[in-house]
Amino acid sequence: MYRNKRALFGLVAALVLVMSASVSIQAAEMWHYWLSGGEKEALDAFLDKARELYPNVEFTERGIPGSTSEMRRQLGAAFMANDPPELYQSAIGYDMKSYVDAGRLEPIDDIWEAVNGDEIFSEGLQRMVKFDGHAYGIPLNTHVISHIFYNKHIFEKYDLDIPTTWDEFKEVSKTLRENGIEPFAAATSWTLTHFYAPLITVLGPEGYLALGNGELAFTDPKVREAFELYGDAFVSSYMFGWSGYGWAEAANELLQGNAAMYLNGDWVVAYFEQAGWTPGEDFGFFPAPGTEDAIIIQVDALAAPKNAKDTEGAKALMTVAGSIDGQSAFNKHKGSVAANLAVPPEIYNPILLETYNRIQRVNEEGTILPNQLFMLPPSLYQELGRQVEMYALNPTDKVLDGVLNTLENMRQDLLKENAFVKWQDM
């Protein structure tokens, strides 16, 4: 009885093997949220490149409106059904690690080696995609979130120089206000990135990283100093009614000449271009005061869930993702700098070229910092964003006390739960 069962099993297994081996067309599906304009073009260019290089694999994509949270929900559903996509657009750092800890991701060490991951990606970046000595994702692009974009016409009109220090920034704001121009455009839910510059100024890159590790107490007097600098320089320069605007509407203020400066991720470059602006002529950028030698970046990566059906297809796509060709095709349309440092800069427009040069320089001489989004537990990151906004709405000492206490309490709770990750040890 037992022998027959084994024989039967062996026969079925052999049959399955034979059948799967004879299937030469595989289908690899990639989930993403690159849905608008330039992003969609970038994705298509990337997939076309992949199809060129791997003609017998069928690459498909599925757009998920939303971002990491919606992606997580859909992936959660797929995991429960044991039917995940072959690849998905992933954040790096904490979010990716949570998937690894849940046992949901496939290590990709072989691909990492094949594309020479240790060489082409900066060290800081590597720390965010490698866990327990294994690589789990391929970074695709780099968006900088510490640059201030400015309306060149306004600056020329009032004969303003690009500010390099906080005092100079405040001077520029003052002049602009006197002339009826809102100095600093801002939007609701987008104030956290503004807080990073004062944070780095007061606490240095080490302090910024310490915050991400959970080692910096929010009740530390220096944190208070950072908030006060933020309030003093940035919040007082915010445009009227900023909390009623979305990020695109705030960008419009810059376009229409109502506001002069705008700190947001460099995805706004594509937005400005679509609105008809020429980079370098109509607008430029400068690093936020204090971030000369520290660049804060945001990165999208591709990760591979376990138990996907077509692992060969996934591997192929990942390899393309790490290659110079793949990264060029993608980043050219995305309006971001490639994560692969070896990608030749010819593909970049003037603004991106400037960004690329800055990244290269800071990579050598300064520190490249990831968005706190990638370092902090999601609850603290979200809370930090809300608290910074609450302070910006009403920058008083009393509010600041409340803000710092709430954040510190949360940090203490998270420490007890061992929720923080020591990123420099990764």
Partner: protein
């Protein structure tokens, strides 16, 4: 002028003023939807001509969703009204031990916030292989419509004298027969009210659609509209066109069934 006349004039004035105020958002929506992007910026400007591109784009984005919503709503409404009446019938005609408890049990659904069940419900649908399917949506909307349908129909059935039931039974009619052949036709206004309420609720549902569907083939128009609204660079002209398209069906249904709705909506809790 007589006092009465003054009062009449005042009445019409106030009503008209309020009606104008109420109509403003809808008028703005319609007008914005036919403007070019340049014209949209100036909210008081009247469009030069009808800019159909907004509607074309809107249709591209939510067209499929409109179809899906219709395919989800119509069967769900019919089935949920029917299933609700199944429970309402015994509860309104027959006293039995625990009838009160059963009624409260079903009504409890009225105050269950949908969010609480999203995750477990999603898991159940997954295991029944009804995730992302029309049948799944019909099932969910029917079951979650049970409280309101039972409530309304029970109230309405209760206004039909029990003596009618007893007379029919004596005449040889069966319990089920009475239900199908006499009670249902008599309760038309009640059903009309329930149908309209359910049609509105189901067509406008966002949370079930968001959680339990994923593909283009099943996703209702509310989800697609929500996605459109949430996009970063909002084109108001297109958005208003899409919004208008998505609300047209419910408005039309209401216009058709307005009278029956008003007649049946109080659930008969006043008659008698």
């Amino acid at each position: 002028m007589t006092k009465r006349r003054i009062v009449r004039i005042l009445l019409y004035t106030i009503l008209t003023l309020l009606a104008v105020l109420f109509a403003v958002p809808l008028v703005v929506m319609v007008v914005t939807s036919i403007k070019t992007p340049a014209e949209v910026v100036n909210v008081f400007a009247w469009p030069q001509e009808i800019y159909w591109a907004n509607y074309i784009k809107a249709f591209e984005i939510i067209g499929r969703g409109l179809l899906n919503s219709m395919f989800i709503t119509v069967p769900s409404v019919v089935i949920s009204a029917f299933v609700g009446s199944l429970g309402a019938y015994p509860l309104s005609q027959f006293r039995f031990k625990g009838d009160y408890a059963v009624y409260m049990f079903l009504l409890a659904g009225l105050f269950i916030p949908i969010q609480i069940v999203m995750i477990p419900l999603f898991q159940i649908m997954r295991s029944l292989k009804l995730y992302d399917s029309f049948v799944g949506m019909w099932l969910v909307h029917t079951v979650y419509g049970i409280p309101i349908c039972t409530f309304y129909l029970r109230n309405y059935f209760a206004t039909i004298p029990r003596s009618l039931l007893e007379a029919s039974l004596i005449d040889g009619c069966s319990i089920a027969g009475y239900y199908f052949r006499i009670l249902i036709p008599l309760a038309k206004p009640g059903f009309a009210a329930v149908i309209i309420l359910q049609a509105r609720a189901i067509w406008n549902d966002l949370l079930f659609g968001l959680t339990l569907t994923r593909s283009d083939f099943v996703r209702p128009v509310t989800v697609e509209l929500a996605t459109f609204v949430g996009q970063t660079d909002v084109q108001y002209g297109q958005l208003m066109a899409a919004t208008l398209l998505s609300i047209l069906p419910t408005i039309i249904v209401f216009l058709i069934f307005r009278r029956q709705f008003i007649e049946g909506v109080l659930g008969g809790s006043v008659k008698g």
